[in-house]
Symmetry: C2
Subunit: 331 residues, 2 copies
C-alpha cells in the first residue's frame, strides 16, 4: 500500500537519549540527554522508559504550543510486552491513544497511520511516539546483563531513549510526501543475534515496492535510510537489492543503527537497534539537516524484526517487516 | 477523536470459535467451530492461535472473492507478547500489515484505522482481524492452568477463536457510521481478577464522549454493546454512567462478555474476555442480526485492560482503554 500526500507536514519533534546515545556522534542533535545512568531517577528500567516516553511527548506538546484539545490522537508503541511503556505513559495525557506494534518499525508505522488520517482530513494534528531501553530489552528478549553472556559481532545494541514527532495539516518547511506499508517477510533465519540479516530482505521488499509504485529510481532521494540493520545487515541489503531487484542503492544509502554510535569506541557490536534508534536519527539528526536544507529528500525505512522469544523457543524462525516514509523539504 | 463516515461499509466477516464458544448460546452464528480440543491440531497453544487467525483471514478473503492485490492492508493484533499470533499469521499473506495493540479493544482500534483510511480515500479494502486463546493467555498473564489456582467470581474467561472483517468503500447493506478513539483511564485498581471494574470507566468515558461529540442520546442506538466487562463490570458501567454523566444506558445496553457464554452452565465466572470475545459477538451475531435488519443501529465499544504482568509485579495499577464504532443498516 503506497500513498502520496499533499497536505501532511512535520510540525516539530522532540528527542531524548540515554548514556550511550550521549556519547555517540549524533548527541548534539538530540534535544535532551540522560548521561548519569539508565534508571533516570526511577526504581526500575521499565519505569525509566515510561518516564522517557512521557517526557518526549509532553516536551513536544509544550514546544509546539498546541493545546491538548487540538491534538487529535497520540499513536505510540514500544518493545515492552503489551507495549507497556506506551500504555503507562499515556495515563499522563488526556488525549486519544492508538497503540501500535511492529517492533523497530513502529515510528514509520505510526507516521503512516497519522499521515493517512491527516491527508484524508480525518485529523489535523497527530503525535507519533516511540521509545526503547537497552536494559528492558536485554531482560525481556535475551538474558539479564548480569549473566555476562557473550555476543557475536552481528548482534546489535538496543538504544535507550524516546522520540516524538507531531504531524499536522498546517504548512511547514518539511512535508511527508509518500509512504509504503510493508509486508511480513520471513527468510527462515533463527539466529536472534543477527537481526540485520533477518530484516534486510523486508527493507529491500519495501524499498523496491515504494520506488516501483511511484515510478522512481533510488537516486530520486538524497538519502535512503534503513532503521537498524547494523553494519552487516547494511551490507546484505546493498547486495540483496542488486541481486534480487537489479537496483543499486550503494550511492545514497545509510543505516540509522550504524550512524547513532561510534562503533570503534562504543560497545555496540554491529550498531544500534530498538524502535528509538531510527527515531532518534530521523527526528533529531535528519530533521535538523532538512530544516537547514542540507538534505532535501529522504526515504526513511525503519525495520522491525518481529521477534517473539516464545516462538523462537518453539523452534520458529523470526519474521520481519519494514515501512517506508518519504520526507521532503518544501521548496 | 470522533469521526463520522459516509463511504465505509462492511463487505463481510469470518469468525471461528473454540470448544467453549461452541457450547455457548451464540455458537450457531459463528462460521466455524473447533469442538475437539484447544490445540487445533498444532503442537502448542500459541501455534493453535496462529492457525486460527490465519484461517479467519484466508477464509474471509476466499468468501469475499477479492484478490490479494485489491486488499490494501491487513490490520491485526492479539494478546500474545509482541502480538506474535498476528506477526506469524501474516507470514501467510502477501499483503501489507499494520500491527496494533490495545488489548481487548483491538478490533475497534483496527476498524477505526481502516475506516479513516477508507473515508479519506487512502485505501479501498482493509481487513481487520484479531484472535485470542484461553490457554495462551492463562500461561502468559496468569498461572499455568495445571496449578489449579482458584479464581474469584469477578474473574473473566479469555475466549478462544479468531475473527476478521473486511471494510470497503463499495456500498453494502451495513455501514460504519461513526467512531471515537478512547483515552487511557486508570482508576487505581490493582486487582487483575476484576478487569470489569478496571475497564468500565474507560468504556464510560468513550461512550459519553461519542454521544456528546455527535449530540446524541443513548437511545439513538438500538444497542450499546461493551467489549468484555462481564457481569459485574456491566453493572458498574450502568451505575457509573448514571452517577458520573447523568446518563441512563440501562434500557439498550449489553456486554459481549455476558452474551458469548451461558454463565449458568459454563465455567466462565463473570463472562468472556480477550479481544476475540467482542469480535465474535459483533462480527458473528450482531453482523447477522443487522443483515436481517433485526437491529439497525449499534454502538460497539470493545474494552481493553492494558494489563502488563511486569508492571503489576512492580506494584503498578492497571490502565484501561476503549474505542467505539457505530454500525448502521443502510436503509
Amino acid at each position: 500500500m503506497t500513498n502520496t500526500y499533499k497536505n501532511v507536514y512535520i510540525k516539530d519533534t522532540f528527542t531524548i537519549g540515554g548514556l550511550y546515545e550521549s556519547e555517540g556522534p549524533l548527541a548534539s542533535y538530540i534535544d535532551k540527554l540522560y548521561k548519569k545512568d539508565l534508571y533516570m531517577g526511577e526504581k526500575s528500567f521499565e519505569k525509566a522508559e515510561i518516564k522517557l516516553l512521557t517526557e518526549a511527548i509532553s516536551k513536544l506538546i509544550k514546544k509546539t504550543n498546541i493545546s491538548n484539545d487540538s491534538i487529535d490522537v497520540i499513536i505510540s508503541g514500544d518493545l515492552q510486552n503489551q507495549i507497556a511503556a506506551s500504555d503507562y505513559a499515556m495515563r499522563n495525557f488526556d488525549i486519544p491513544f492508538l497503540g501500535i506494534f511492529n517492533a523497530c518499525s513502529i515510528s514509520s508505522e505510526g507516521m503512516i497511520i497519522a499521515s493517512n488520517f491527516i491527508e484524508g482530513k480525518m485529523a489535523k494534528n497527530c503525535i507519533v511516539a516511540t521509545s526503547s531501553h537497552n536494559l528492558v530489552s536485554e531482560k525481556q528478549f535475551r538474558n539479564p546483563t548480569e549473566y555476562g553472556a557473550p555476543k557475536p559481532k552481528t548482534a546489535t545494541f538496543t538504544s535507550t531513549g524516546s522520540a516524538s514527532i507531531m504531524l499536522t495539516n498546517e504548512k511547514t518547511n518539511i512535508k511527508i510526501e509518500s509512504s509504503t506499508i510493508g509486508r511480513v517477510i520471513d527468510m527462515g533465519i533463527k539466529d536472534v543475534n543477527n537481526m540485520g540479516a533477518i530484516m534486510a530482505p523486508a527493507a529491500a521488499d519495501t524499498i523496491y515496492r515504494h520506488l516501483q509504485n511511484l515510478n522512481r529510481n533510488p537516486l530520486y532521494y538524497d538519502l535512503i535510510l534503513t532503521g537498524d540493520l547494523g553494519l552487516y545487515g547494511k551490507d546484505i541489503l546493498i547486495k540483496y537489492m542488486k541481486k534480487q531487484y537489479k537496483m543499486d542503492i550503494s550511492k545514497n544509502y545509510n543505516d540509522c543503527g550504524v550512524m547513532l554510535y561510534d562503533r570503534e569506541k562504543q560497545p555496540v557490536f554491529a550498531g544500534g537497534s530498538g524502535p528509538v534508534c531510527s527515531a532518534l536519527v530521523n527526528f533529531a539528526y535528519i530533521y535538523k539537516k532538512m530544516l537547514n536544507k542540507e538534505i532535501k529528500r529522504v526515504l526513511i525505512v525503519p525495520t522491525g524484526a518481529i521477534f517473539s522469544p516464545t516462538m523462537v523457543f518453539q523452534k520458529e524462525t523470526v519474521p520481519a517487516i519494514s515501512h517506508a516514509i518519504g520526507l521532503e523539504v518544501v521548496e
